[in-house]
Symmetry: C2
Subunit: 392 residues, 2 copies
């Protein structure tokens, strides 16, 4: 095991019927809340009314800011920051999915900055304060409810920037799994792909092979998601499965899985983000396209960790690591296929992807994260080429 | 899965050579630190000098308070509280094992109280503030470094009181596994027994059978401890094993394993604490005496969870749960025997235990924790009787 710092002070309130606690939690952090939401689904589901009533009962003044889109956009974010400033909001509450939580975090950061938020997103400005954030997630996917991560897409340049800062880590997240029970199956499938990717990017790219606690934790998360999806494919509203999957999504990306694994990278997110940015593809779909392709690429370079993962999760029995890693890629593709997640660009609706443009953007992300070791544009392009046909 | 609140804001700084960060962390919380220690081992090991030098370099004034004993005593605790008050300490730093951390937490609480700490320990007074606590654990055992739990023994009445309060949860814990590498094997064995008990009391007593994440996490912790002990029995100074075991000890008792399992109890700690209190037996030894006996008792009442655990950890293959639970008790006894942990009162040096007195004290603890459902003094006595001979 390697050295680490782990510090995750987010308070989690989890269970059926907990939304009514939003007001009391909010009152500990502010008086006037910018309530960030997406489309109309949380109004139709009643979540909006419950949260708003709880806030008002606690004496919180609510300023509405709706309309966050999937792959949240810089132009909309700027409107939210402006509204937070002009309304004098001292608290940001996100009620919705990963995009809503991400944009809410960026608003909380931008509301404390004198310069444009894009100066921070592109690395030119530092963050020294942020409004407190509370989340009420209505999907089990991004894990944004218990981390400081947020991803914003510049809708002018089509660049997607993922940031992480402790200042925007939610103070409290109020998680009612019932809010996720009516999510359409096609989104649930892509959420499952995302959760599994979060739980595994670390374990698949770490160098250390003596991390039994982290291996066991991450494999538990993945196994749980796979078991839950087996149930949800037949019965999408199954509440016990929705419940287990919601907590799994949090544990997958709250920093605990990688604590102690040493240096690791996020190659699949690095490969996937430009696809979302250029084609507005849903995040999970980009991951199911690129992950098996990346595994096949990585199997030729350093197959050890992929082989371990495949043996644990899919019962891969090949003795040599390279073969085991290749079989693992194939097994993962088989799981995606069973779910109906896209395996190729074409299946995700991208007929003629600009592989050169995508590769350049991925390389740029890798460089900005210090994760470019072993990568060049040609190498990235060769992985993306595999994603044209789905398998060799 | 059941509803839960999880909130663990302790910052963990983990790794070789991290002790020098104690000063910087302390400076964020105070200026004058009561440095709580045990016997002389941390002076001999150099840990004391490193921590003290780090504190002084950060401008922290250090007030020494040593001499904490195993099963920390109320009389010594009162001296510590008095010293904290008279010296004007605004911060308590524990450098040592579980007893040192526990007494430091109680000092941090007592230093803010006008009444005697025993009024709080016995339930007559409430805690409304505490000095900030920082820990530098030198054993992997109690998990005290990432929870609000502390256990104090009244050396007049021989009653051991376990308390838990968020106010004394450490702000930061600075964990260098090298500090644990020279712990004598006999203490390491009892520490392993304690960690496994922490990780399993919840999973063995919960009613919910649909908690795959929690099952996987707790089983990972136990499996890791067992694997580490296999190495340490041959090579007690093996640093990778010490490292994995140290993080395992934290995860076993930081609230994450039981988050979502619903109501659970701590029957083995309830049975063990009075043995420590009456005979000053080391905590881990009380657990290896009582745990298999409790399992055999519980197998006749509700064997489901013990059976699950035995199947996962020991590969128990019995189909019916009662048989599987009994075999699990036997397998656990076998593991203890391999370690050399005591299986009977006699092996722990207690020739003629006062079973009636112990049973009354256990019943009193169970009542005070609201964990007395299904218990009476006769039932507790019958479990303790099993611990006379070690197995039926």
């Amino acid at each position: 095991m390697q050295s680490f710092v782990y510090h995750n002070p987010t308070k989690i309130i989890f269970g059926l019927g907990v939304l009514g606690q939003t007001g009391a939690e909010a009152a500990a952090h502010g008086k006037r809340a910018l309530l960030v939401t997406g489309g109309g689904s949380i109004r139709r589901s009643g979540v909006y009314d419950t949260v708003r009533a709880s806030l008002e009962a606690a004496g919180i003044e609510v300023v509405d800011f709706g309309g966050v889109e999937p792959n949240p956009k810089l132009s909309h974010l700027r409107q939210g920051i402006e509204l937070a400033k002009t309304s004098g909001a001292d608290l940001v509450i996100a009620a919705g999915g990963g995009s809503v939580m991400d944009e809410a975090k960026a608003i909380a950061a931008g509301a404390c900055m004198d310069t444009d938020i894009n100066d921070y997103l592109t690395g030119g400005a530092l963050l020294s304060c942020a409004l407190p954030v509370i989340t009420v997630p209505t999907v089990a996917a991004t894990g944004s409810e218990m981390n400081g991560v947020f991803v914003i897409t510049n809708d002018e340049t089509h660049v997607k920037n993922g940031m992480a800062h402790d200042l925007v880590r939610p103070k409290t997240s109020i998680m009612d799994p019932a809010t996720t029970a009516t999510i359409p199956l096609e989104y649930t499938i892509l959420a499952a792909v995302d959760i599994v990717s979060h739980a595994t990017e670390g374990t698949l790219t770490q160098a250390d092979n003596d991390t039994p606690l982290q291996d066991g934790l991450t494999d538990t998360v993945v196994r749980t998601v796979m078991d839950c999806m087996h149930v949800l494919m037949a019965t999408p509203t199954d509440l016990p499965a929705r419940t287990n999957m919601m907590w799994a999504s949090t544990l997958a990306w709250n920093g605990l899985c990688p604590a102690g694994i040493g240096t690791w990278a996020k190659p699949c997110h690095m490969l996937g983000h430009p696809i979302s940015a250029m084609y507005d593809t849903l995040h999970g779909a980009t991951l199911s396209i690129v992950t098996p392709a990346w595994m096949e690429h990585q199997a030729e370079i350093e197959p050890t960790r992929i082989a371990r993962w495949g043996r644990s999760l899919f019962g891969v029995s090949e003795q040599d690591d390279r073969s085991a890693a290749l079989v693992t890629a194939s097994a993962l593709r088989g799981w995606y296929r069973k779910l109906g997640a896209p395996l190729t660009f074409a299946e995700a609706g991208i007929e003629k992807p600009d592989l050169d443009g995508l590769a350049e953007r991925s390389m740029s992300i890798a460089r900005s994260k210090g994760e470019d070791s072993g990568w060049n544009t040609a190498g990235i392009r060769s992985v993306l080429e595999r994603s044209l046909q789905g398998s060799k």
